[in-house]
């Protein structure tokens, strides 16, 4: 406990330099701008900045990326409130109450509530990050290949289930396509080149960053350019800083949304949008009847719940990145990639190999959260002008960044081609309601699954028993089956038949 606090203090103190603080301010502000522009997502922002910061020292680069991540998830609330268009998918629930508040002439109040909610959500998430990372890290030390195989499969299944609630089958397919993409190129045990068909470029594998910039960047550019105009609503910006009484009134909602957001963040690949929706739904269910009627028509509690939930998800999503090297959300996946690029090895050994890094990440989250809070409350009016930049002027510049960003890491034009191909495939798949988060998670988890499944089979000499008898494996297997069977129609029908006679008997 005290050792943790000492390490945290040490980490925080090491960041108290002008250079680091200036980096935190510009990266958070850029994150807010990227987040508030519809079509530019947090994932895209983090992916583009990864390529821009790879020449910096690891701590500076990771700090900038975390600031971008937190800033972008918060920034999306601006366009959700002022334009009724979520800046990032994470802010979709924010539009429900944020925009009606803005229309009622309370845009300033809505922005203030969203900023404070985001700040408190991040703080709650950060506390969980500080408490649970060392704990999970020490538990994860006992994990073997058998557990990692199940974590990979469970990650794909739950991510597909939650990101495609209408049709989880498509989510699972997207996840397995992602796993396949990770199989392309030289494998890590025998150095055998798979699925390259003689291409030297393919034998190096498909890099995560160009694939992500394609699916989240180029695909988004095509989506945004499809329609000609966005209506900009000129709302009055009044008082921004919320009154403490307004926040104290909803303290239960803040804590609940913070905890729920963090928990959802820690589930592999699920992300901020689900965290916001679940927090919003829970707040609505537990609201007083007179407040519940306001949900969807300008409820302060609804706005607070969604914004607290989505920002609490950010530190939550970093927990599995640090402890298991499995990302909790799509932007966290890029963050994981960036850590690997900078020579940091997240995973179960991190608390043994570099415990200070864990506390440095917590300090980075704290600095980013404070920067987001201060910038969020002070730079409201000038930033509203950014929303009025026409998309046809903005998107070519964004595309240039996508191209150079994909190219910069390895100086290969092949990676630019990968970005284009993934962008087009991503756009088509999205049109057919395939979620992209499981695909990206699959690309990350593919390598973990590949090495651990074979390693586990070698250890057990081909016996699949340990996959079902080790306690954590059994738990993950049962959870996976529960998720899959829970969505099957025949199982639902069977359950209804079982319930019906019981209900009849009671009657």
């Amino acid at each position: 406990m005290f050792q943790g606090l000492t390490l945290f203090g040490q980490a925080l103190f090491s960041f108290m330099t002008w250079q680091t603080l200036i980096n935190a301010i510009w990266a958070t502000e850029l994150g807010i701008i990227i987040g508030m522009l519809p079509g530019l997502t947090a994932t895209m922002g983090v992916a583009l900045l990864t390529t821009l910061t790879y020449t910096l020292a690891p701590n500076d680069a990771i700090m900038i990326l975390i600031c971008m991540y937190i800033g972008a998830i918060y920034g999306g609330s601006r366009s959700a409130i002022l334009l009724n268009i979520p800046g990032t998918p994470a802010n979709a629930a924010t539009t429900l109450d944020g925009f009606p508040l803005a229309k009622a002439g309370k845009a300033g109040k809505a922005i203030g509530i969203a900023t404070t909610g985001s700040f408190l959500g991040s703080v709650i998430g950060m506390l969980f990050l500080a408490v649970f990372t060392p704990l999970i890290g020490s538990v994860a030390l006992s994990f073997q290949s058998f557990e990692f195989v199940w974590f990979s499969i469970f990650g794909i299944i739950i991510c597909g289930n939650l990101t495609a609630p209408k049709d989880p089958l498509k989510g699972w397919i997207a996840g397995f396509i992602g796993l396949f993409v990770a199989m392309i190129g030289m494998e890590g045990i025998h150095a055998y080149v798979r699925f390259s068909f003689g291409s030297t470029d393919l034998s190096g594998g498909i890099s995560l960053i160009p694939a992500m910039v394609g699916t989240f960047g180029f695909a988004e550019i095509i989506s945004v350019m499809r329609y000609s105009k966005v209506e900009v609503v000129n709302s009055e910006i009044g008082r921004i800083v919320p009154r403490p009484s307004e926040l104290l009134k909803y303290w239960k909602t803040i804590i609940r949304s913070g905890v729920v957001g963090t928990f959802i963040g820690a589930i592999p690949g699920v992300g901020e949008d689900i965290a916001a929706w679940v927090s919003y739904d829970l707040a609505k269910r537990s609201a007083k009847p007179e407040e519940r009627e306001l949900f969807g028509h300008g409820s302060v509690e609804g706005l607070l719940a969604s914004e607290t939930g989505n920002n609490a998800c950010v530190p939550g999503a970093i927990i599995p990145v640090l402890t298991l090297a499995i990302p909790g959300s799509a932007p966290a996946a890029v963050l994981l990639g960036a850590m690997l690029i900078h020579g940091v090895r997240p995973g179960p050994l991190i608390m043994l190999e570099s415990p200070l890094f864990v506390y440095q990440v917590i300090a980075m989250v704290l600095i980013a959260t404070i920067a987001m809070f201060v910038l969020g409350l002070t730079m409201v009016r000038p930033l509203v002008k950014v929303l009025q930049v026409p998309r046809q002027k903005l998107m070519p510049v964004v595309f240039l960044l996508c191209v150079v960003g994909s190219y910069a890491l390895q100086s290969r034009l092949f990676d630019v081609g990968v970005m284009i191909v993934f962008g087009i495939i991503g756009f088509v798949l999205r049109e057919m309601e395939y979620p992209m988060a499981p695909l990206v998670l699959g690309i990350i988890l593919g390598d973990i699954l590949d090495k651990n499944l074979r390693r586990a089979l070698i250890l057990s000499n081909g016996d699949i028993g340990p996959f079902f008898t080790r306690p954590i494996c059994l738990g993950l297997f049962l959870l996976t089956m529960l998720i899959v069977l829970g969505r099957a129609k025949w199982v639902k029908g069977l359950m209804a038949k079982i319930r019906k006679p019981k209900a009849d008997a009671k009657a």
Partner: protein, 171 residues
Amino acid sequence: MTDKSMAKADFITSLTLLAFGIAIVVLSIQMPMATDANQSKFSAPGIVPGFIGAMLSLLSFAMLLRSIRHGGASGLAPKPGAVKRLFAQETTARILKTTGLCVAYVLLLGKLWFPIPTFFFAFAFIVLFEYDFKSAFKPQIRKVAMAFAIALVSTALVTLVFQGLFLVNLP
């Protein structure tokens, strides 16, 4: 997409993915066994891709059955004039223009000095989406000038920042 057209799209996609999944399984089986190199047979490089291919086939098959149940297999041939109508839509034209411009730009990279295709891409993108080709040129000079300025500034900034500051050897 309507439910009917989604069922059709699912039918075609599931067939494609099923073929894709089976192809992965076949290619995985053809991969060398690790025993050739005196290693455990369970370390064979085809095991995991084979598993992924099998899972993909299974899931695609489930989607295929569902799409057939929802009528996705019937009336697959497009109605007369449907393709023409699709291409006449403004959204389709905008998607094709965006994709075409971006792909053309990427194809030119490495063949010309980086700032040249970059400037022309940015300029063409803005003009193509902002300029009204049916109206006279004179009242739209400002639009063209603005596109020129944005293209010039963004090209210069991207080139200088990445080449000068981040030391990226641009194509």
